[in-house]
C-alpha cells in the first residue's frame, strides 16, 4: 500500500516536471542560438568565427540579414582573445577543417594571412556588391595579394585621436577646449612631449601626463608610413629612422617622468582609468568605449577627445572566407553585406567601430556622430578627418610580433625598470631576432 502511494507520488511529480518543461515559455531567441530567432531547420546555416565581442551580433546586423534573407541562418562563435583565436585559425586553415564559413582576422595578422594563406581563401573582390572604391585604399591594399586577389574585406579601422581629462588639464593650467588642446601639438609628436612637460610643472598630485611609454610608441608608429617592413617585404625596423625616432621620443616620456608607468590592457591600467592616474591616452575610435567602461560614471564629461598630433591608425579587422567551407558563395555574400558602407556606419553608431569604408563617412550616422560621455565631442568629424589622412602603411607578416616585443619587452623595461633607451632597444632586438628565427 505504501509502495503504491510512493509510486503515485513519483509519477505525479514526474508528470508535473515534464509538463513544467513543456509549458516553459520559449527562451528569447538570442540566448538560445546566439543569433536571431526561428529555427535553422531547412535553412542554409552560415557560421561566423570572431575574436572578442565583434559587434555584428550585438548591433543586430545578423538579425537584419536573416530578415532580408529568410533562407539564411547565421551562427557566431567567439574566442575572447586574438592571441588564442589566431593560432587556432591557422591550424584550421592548415588542416582545412573546423573552420567557420566566415572568419575574422586582426589587422596585425592580415599581412601574414594574405601572404601565406591566400590560396586557401576566396577572392572577395569578385563578390557581388563589393566595390573597391567604397574602401580606404590602404585598407583594401592590406588584404590584397601581389597578383591582385583580395582575400579580406575590411571591417573597422582605428584612426587615432588623443583622449584627455579636462579636469586635470585645467588644474595643470593647460587649455581644456578640444580645439585648443589639438592645437597644442598639431602636426608634431614632439609637441606632445612639450605639452607633457608643461603639464608636469603644475601636475595635480599623484597624476602623470600619459599612461605609458609603450602607448606613445605605438601611437607614433601608427602614424608612420613605414614601420617594420619595406615595400620589398624586408624587415627594416632596426635601421628604419622612423622607428628609432619613435623609440627615442617614447623613451623620453619615460625619462622625463611623464608616464604613469602602466602597461596597457592590464588590470592596473584599468584601475588607472578609474582613479584618474593619467591625463591623456592615445585614443583610437574603439578606445572610447573602453574608457567609458573603465572610468565609469565618474569619468562622464571629464574625458574629452582632441585630434592627435599626426593622423595614424591603431587596430581594425578583416573578414575572410575560407575555401574549405561548403557555402562559400553565401558566406561571401554575407561578408560583403556586413562590410558594406551602410552596415559599417551602423556599427559605428552603435558600437563605436570606425568604418573602413570611406563611403560611409558622408552618411549622417557617421558625420553627425557625437559622444555624450565625452562632452558631446563630434567624434564622427574628428575620426573621419584622421582616417582620411592616415598614411598608407606597409604591413608585414610579423608586424604583431615585432610590435609586441618592442612595447612589452623593450619599452616596458625603459618605462618600468628604468633601463636606458639603448638597453631596452637591445633587449627588444634580441627578443625579436629569436622570435623571427633570423
Amino acid at each position: 500500500m505504501r509502495r503504491a502511494a510512493v509510486l503515485v507520488a513519483v509519477a505525479a511529480l514526474a508528470a508535473g516536471l515534464l509538463s513544467g518543461c513543456a509549458e516553459d515559455p520559449p527562451e528569447p531567441p538570442r540566448a538560445r542560438t546566439h543569433s536571431d530567432g526561428g529555427s535553422a531547420e531547412g535553412k542554409t546555416v552560415i557560421t561566423v568565427g570572431v575574436f572578442g565581442s565583434f559587434g555584428f551580433l550585438e548591433s543586430g546586423l545578423y538579425d537584419e540579414y536573416m530578415r532580408l534573407n529568410p533562407g539564411i541562418h547565421i551562427r557566431q562563435s567567439s574566442i575572447q582573445r586574438n592571441e588564442n583565436y589566431y593560432p587556432q585559425l591557422l591550424t584550421h586553415l592548415g588542416s582545412g577543417s573546423g573552420l567557420a564559413d566566415i572568419q575574422a582576422v586582426e589587422v596585425n595578422n592580415i599581412a601574414e594571412i594574405t601572404a601565406t594563406q591566400a590560396d586557401r581563401l576566396v577572392d572577395l573582390s569578385r563578390t557581388g556588391g563589393v566595390r573597391r572604391t567604397d574602401f580606404l585604399d590602404w585598407k583594401w591594399a592590406q588584404a590584397t595579394t601581389g597578383d591582385g586577389r583580395t582575400v579580406g574585406l575590411g571591417t573597422d579601422i582605428g584612426p587615432q585621436a588623443v583622449c584627455y581629462r579636462k579636469d586635470l588639464y585645467a588644474e595643470a593650467g593647460l587649455p581644456t577646449d578640444r580645439e585648443a588642446v589639438g592645437r597644442l601639438w598639431a602636426g608634431d609628436w614632439t609637441k606632445y612631449l612639450e605639452a607633457g612637460k608643461r603639464y608636469r610643472e603644475k601636475a595635480p598630485e599623484g597624476t602623470a601626463f600619459t599612461d605609458s611609454a609603450s602607448g606613445v610608441l605605438n601611437a607614433v608608429l601608427g602614424s608612420s608610413p613605414q614601420r617594420y617592413y619595406d615595400e620589398d617585404g624586408e624587415v627594416v625596423y632596426k635601421t628604419n629612422p622612423a622607428v628609432r625616432a619613435a623609440w627615442d621620443l617614447a623613451a623620453s616620456f619615460a625619462a622625463e617622468g611623464l608616464t604613469a608607468r602602466l602597461q596597457q590592457f592590464t588590470p592596473a591600467w584599468d584601475q588607472g582609468f578609474a582613479n584618474g592616474r593619467f591625463a591623456t591616452v592615445s585614443c583610437p575610435a574603439w578606445m572610447l568605449g573602453y574608457i567609458q567602461d573603465k572610468a565609469g560614471p565618474a569619468g562622464e564629461d571629464v574625458w574629452d577627445v582632441a585630434a592627435a598630433p599626426r593622423p595614424g591608425n591603431w587596430g581594425g579587422s578583416f573578414l575572410v572566407v575560407p575555401r574549405a567551407g561548403s557555402r562559400t558563395e553565401e558566406a561571401a555574400k554575407l561578408a560583403a553585406w556586413l562590410t558594406a558602407p551602410a552596415q559599417q556606419a551602423r556599427m559605428f553608431a552603435e558600437r563605436g567601430s570606425f568604418p573602413s569604408a570611406s563611403a560611409a563617412y558622408g552618411l549622417p550616422a557617421v558625420s553627425g556622430a557625437t559622444h555624450p560621455y565625452f562632452g558631446d565631442a563630434p567624434i564622427g568629424r574628428i575620426y573621419s578627418r584622421a582616417a582620411e589622412d592616415v598614411p598608407v602603411q606597409t604591413v608585414g607578416p610579423k608586424d604583431l610580433i615585432i610590435q609586441q616585443n618592442l612595447s612589452d619587452v623593450g619599452m616596458l623595461q625603459v618605462d618600468q625598470r628604468g633601463r636606458t633607451p639603448r638597453q631596452g632597444w637591445e633587449a627588444a632586438v634580441k627578443s625579436i631576432d629569436n622570435a623571427l628565427d633570423l
Binding site: 592571441e83 593560432p87 591557422l90 591550424t91 592548415g94 588542416s95 601574414e112 601565406t116 594563406q117 602597461q263 596597457q264 590592457f265 592590464t266 588590470p267 592596473a268 591600467w269 584601475q271 588607472g272 582613479n275 592616474r277 610580433i401 609586441q404 616585443n405 612589452d408 619587452v409 616596458l412 623595461q413 618600468q416 625598470r417 633587449a427 634580441k430 627578443s431 629569436n434 622570435a435 623571427l436 628565427d437
Partner: protein, 343 residues
Amino acid sequence: MTSRTTERRSRRHRRDLRWSPYAFVAPFFVFFLAFGLFPLLYTGWASLHRVELTAPTEMEWVGLRNFTRLLHDDFFWNALRNTVTIGLLSTVPQLLIALGLAHLLHQRLRGSAFFRVAVLTPYATSVAAATLVFALLFGRDYGMVNWVLSLAGFDAVDWQNGRWTSQIAVSTIVIWRWTGYNALIYLAAMQAIPRDLYESAELDGASRLRQFLHVTVPSLRHTILFTCVVSTIGATQLFGEPLLFNGAAGATGGAEHQYQTLGLYLYEQGWVNLHLGRASAIAWAMFLLLLVVGAVNWLIARRLGGTATGGGATGRRATGRSPRGGRTPGVRTPDDSTPGRST
C-alpha cells in the same frame, strides 16, 4: 537444460572472464594512444624539422638543429632557471605548510570535516580565476599586498617587474592552490599511523612537537616523497599561473622574461611565434628533464626503501607497522595514481 548448452555457456563465461577485463581497460589505452602517444611521437618527429604554424604540413628536415640551438638559446636557459627557482620557491614552503596543516587537522577539533573541505577549496578554484585575483592583490599601485606593507611602514614593491618579487608572487599562487591538496594527502597518511606509537612516545614524555618530528614525519616518508614527485612534475610544467599573472604580456613572462617558465617559452615559440618545430624541441627537452627528475626520485625512493623498515629516528621499532614493509599503510604510493597537475 542439455549438457551441451551448459558447456557452451560455461565456455562463453570463460571467454567472458578472460577478455572482458581487456575490453574494460581498452578505452583508456585507445585514448592514450590517440591523445598521449601519438602527440608524443609526432612532437618528436616535428622537433627534427622546421615547421611553421602558417603551413603545418610543410616540414623541412633539419636534424638535431632545433635541439643544438637550445644550447645557445639564452631565453631557454633563462626559462629553465626560472622554472627551477619558481619550483623551489613554491614547492618547499608548500609541502612544509601542508605538513603543518595536516598535523593540525589531525588533532581532534570541532568541525574537522569543515576544515578539511576548506583546505581543499583553493585546489577546486580555476587557475584563471585565482591568478586574476592574485594579480590584483600584487598590483603595484593599488594592490592589497602593498597596502598591507605600507601599513607596516614598508615601501611599495613592484611585484611584476622585479626578478625575485615576480617569482615570489607567482609562487604564492601555486602555494595557495596546492597546499590544501597536499595537506589532505598527508592527513590520510597520518591517520594510518598506529595510535600506540604516540601512546608509547607520550609515556616516554615526548612533547607534541617531538612526537611530530620523531613519529609522524618518519612514518610519512614515502608519502612525502610522493608529494615531492608530483609537485616537481607540476613545477616543471608550470604554465597557467605565470601566463595569467600578467595577461597583457602574454607568454613573455614579464619585460625581462623574469618569470617566463619552460612551459611559457614553449607556448611562446609555438603559438605566438608560430615555430612548431622549435616548440616541439622544447617540449622534448622538458620531457627528458622530467625523466632525469624521475630517475633521481627513484634513486632516493630506493634509498628510503632500504631504511624504512628500520623504524623511526626514535630508534623505537614500529610495532604496528603494516605487513607491506616499508610502505606507509593506507597511502597510495606513486605507482597507484599520479594525479598530474593540469595548469
